[in-house]
Symmetry: C2
Subunit: 401 residues, 2 copies
């Protein structure tokens, strides 16, 4: 996702200095059984927590990050870090997800490269990075790993699971995989099923990485990295995160640092310069193999594709209350598809609120400052808390609230 954090008010309240923690499980002879049938372990999960776990353990909000995100949602690792976490605008004292009230957890997804086990992690069997020996994982496998972390933390009930894009897929997966644990769910700018168009963009991005000779079948650790291929993959992603209209407004046909065309293959237009910069910056922080694994997991995602057939049948298992949010200019996961998802949820008798937010910035909109979105989330969490207390007072639900 793009970096808009510099636009934030630096004086806003923050969770302050935070720490990345690690939990390792499924060490042999134990293992995680993956959706592919493969058995994998050990599994390390990098995670962060903000706020205080209530004595009743009833104030947990689990945030699920998007494709290239990480566990670092808010705050800074050091007070003088230039940038805070990726959702600083939403998570902190008095913010939409209020860390004065909620205990917030976010972990890096399985297959990633920000501390959790992924293709760039060391394979204990060989002492070398896994590369393509890392198993292909699914959104379901990511959720299974998150569940193991929650077990470790002694948490059996989630007030809410919240995430956008690929994080939203994990939200949906949580609701049908561990329905008894989830009180409320907020899938943002997401889809219950990756479309052919979304698969196509991911596949072209993967082909770009695999076409880079430095990729070398995934064995590039300690050697030259497939940075050119990864940069192009990132550029493709960026085009899909913005909308036609967003690009017109942001860049139009404005030239970059020149008054006339170069008549060569330099970046003439601002949009070209922007994309090149995003590509170059991305390769400094992201692993090319992780990009392959995480896009593949997204492409495999189809909530209805688990024997039940229809989406409504898949949602029949869910018990959560839902707040579904889409953005008008998101053409990667368009509003029309969110509406269909909401219809399927309603058909399954679920309690669903749906909101389409007017936004001109495309798919990326869920990461941008939006008082509307903050208010929606704050209000929904309020309501979830009230409902959970009411249910607990009635002795319903059988969980420890």
């Amino acid at each position: 996702m793009s970096e808009y954090l510099s636009e934030l008010d630096p004086g806003a309240a923050s969770v302050g200095v935070v720490e990345k923690k690690f939990y390792t499980c499924a060490a042999p002879p134990s293992c995680l059984v993956l959706e592919s049938g493969a058995r994998f372990g050990p599994v390390t999960i990098a995670y962060e927590t903000y706020g205080t776990l209530a004595p009743g353990r009833d104030n947990v909000v689990l945030i699920l990050h998007a494709l290239t995100g990480d566990s670092h949602v808010a705050g800074r690792y050091r007070a003088d870090d230039a940038k805070p976490g990726w959702w600083e605008i939403m998570v902190g004292p008095g913010k939409g997800i209020d860390t004065d009230r909620y205990f917030v957890i976010c972990s890096n997804i399985l297959g990633g490269c920000m501390g959790s086990s992924g293709p760039s992690s060391i394979n204990p069997a060989t002492g070398e990075p896994y590369g393509l020996d890392f198993p292909v994982v699914t959104i379901g496998d990511m959720v299974t790993a998150q569940k193991a972390l929650l077990d470790h933390l002694g948490i059996s009930r989630l007030l809410a699971v919240i995430g956008g894009s690929v994080g939203g897929m994990q939200v949906l997966e949580w609701c049908v995989r561990f329905p008894e644990m989830v009180a409320g769910a907020i899938p943002l700018a997401t889809t219950p099923r990756h479309s052919a168009l979304a698969i196509a963009f991911n596949e072209v991005a993967r082909q770009s990485i695999m076409a880079d000779p430095n990729w070398n079948q995934g064995n590039y650790y300690g050697a030259a990295k497939p940075n050119m291929g990864l940069a192009v993959a990132r550029m493709i992603g960026h085009v899909t995160y913005l909308s036609d209209e967003a690009m017109r407004r942001k860049f139009g046909r404005q030239l970059q640092d020149r008054s006339s065309f170069s008549f060569n293959f330099d970046a003439d237009f601002q949009v070209e310069s922007y994309l090149r910069y995003q590509g170059t910056k991305f390769v400094e922080r992201f692993d090319a193999n992780s990009f392959l694994y995480l896009t593949k997991a997204a492409d495999y995602f189809d909530l209805a594709d688990r024997g039940e057939g229809s989406l409504a049948a898949a949602f029949a298992k869910a018990r959560a209350r839902f707040l579904v949010v889409s953005f008008t200019s998101d053409w990667l996961y368009p509003t029309a598809r969110s509406r269909k998802m909401v219809q399927a949820m309603k058909k399954s008798g679920l309690d669903v609120s749906f909101c389409e937010i007017e936004a001109e910035w495309g798919h990326d909109a869920f990461l941008l400052p939006s008082p509307r979105l903050s208010e929606l989330i704050r209000g929904f969490l309020d309501r979830l808390e009230r409902e959970e207390r009411r249910q607990a007072a009635r002795g319903e639900g059988g969980h420890a609230l």
Copy 2:
């Protein structure tokens, strides 16, 4: 563009066996003065003609091809060629552009790789291919070269100029560059100004080519070619030629030759397999440097950016009657932009018909069989002929009709 030609009725009338011809001009000390200010020559233009030039030379239809097209619009070079030209469905005896009535000309665009001068042509000064020594050309330069060919053929009036996509840009350019020559114009699925989104896609495709080590700053002739980069570039193009809905209908989430996921990085989905195939096939027929040059020309295209400021001011020079056609599912050059262009034309007092064709196949739709489009073009050419005869009878226009 995609290959849909196999869907054609093989029994349909055809122009039959045709021949590619060549015309060379601007040989030193003469030259073509390009929009960049560069002086270039000699210039070779590959072209084909179908039908018979009327004694009054008043039945000429000039077809302008799209990005990766060529002069081979219709017919076959040999009777046993597997495939006919790229617009066989539209051009031939009794077809939308009826070769029994019209003298049809199409030339390969300047900068291309199908016979006209381009980066893969031999530079007579060195005896080696130009590579990046070939000058960056514009849509206007392409039209200037086409004008030289028409001068050579003794043609001073065009009944119609017709083309889709980048071909449509040439149509528009013809109308304002040589207004006195053009009686009618049919820009299809095109735009008077390349948008930031369209530039973005082209830039990512160019970066993919230039990231391929085999590209070698454009010096790959006689060595390994940047096929991997060019294939990815083509895949990006293909995603933009189809629509979200077209991909959903054509591919959905159907798997390719398998009943379950591979859990590796093979092509699982049909859409992946399709894109890989399109990429692989394309590199056999197209030059990577030409792809760079032609996309750059498209990105530079802005009809209003020539001192006049507004689009309406640019069109004020035009004298042609227009038939503008857009397609509902074309998200590369969307209908809304075509409407704005039509408004600008009307503001300039031009005679414009506009038609949006309901089509689910995205930008590629203009190349697909469409009885509606054939009828529209046939009817418009009919009308142009009548109007031209009427004008000639009144002695108007000052041209030889």
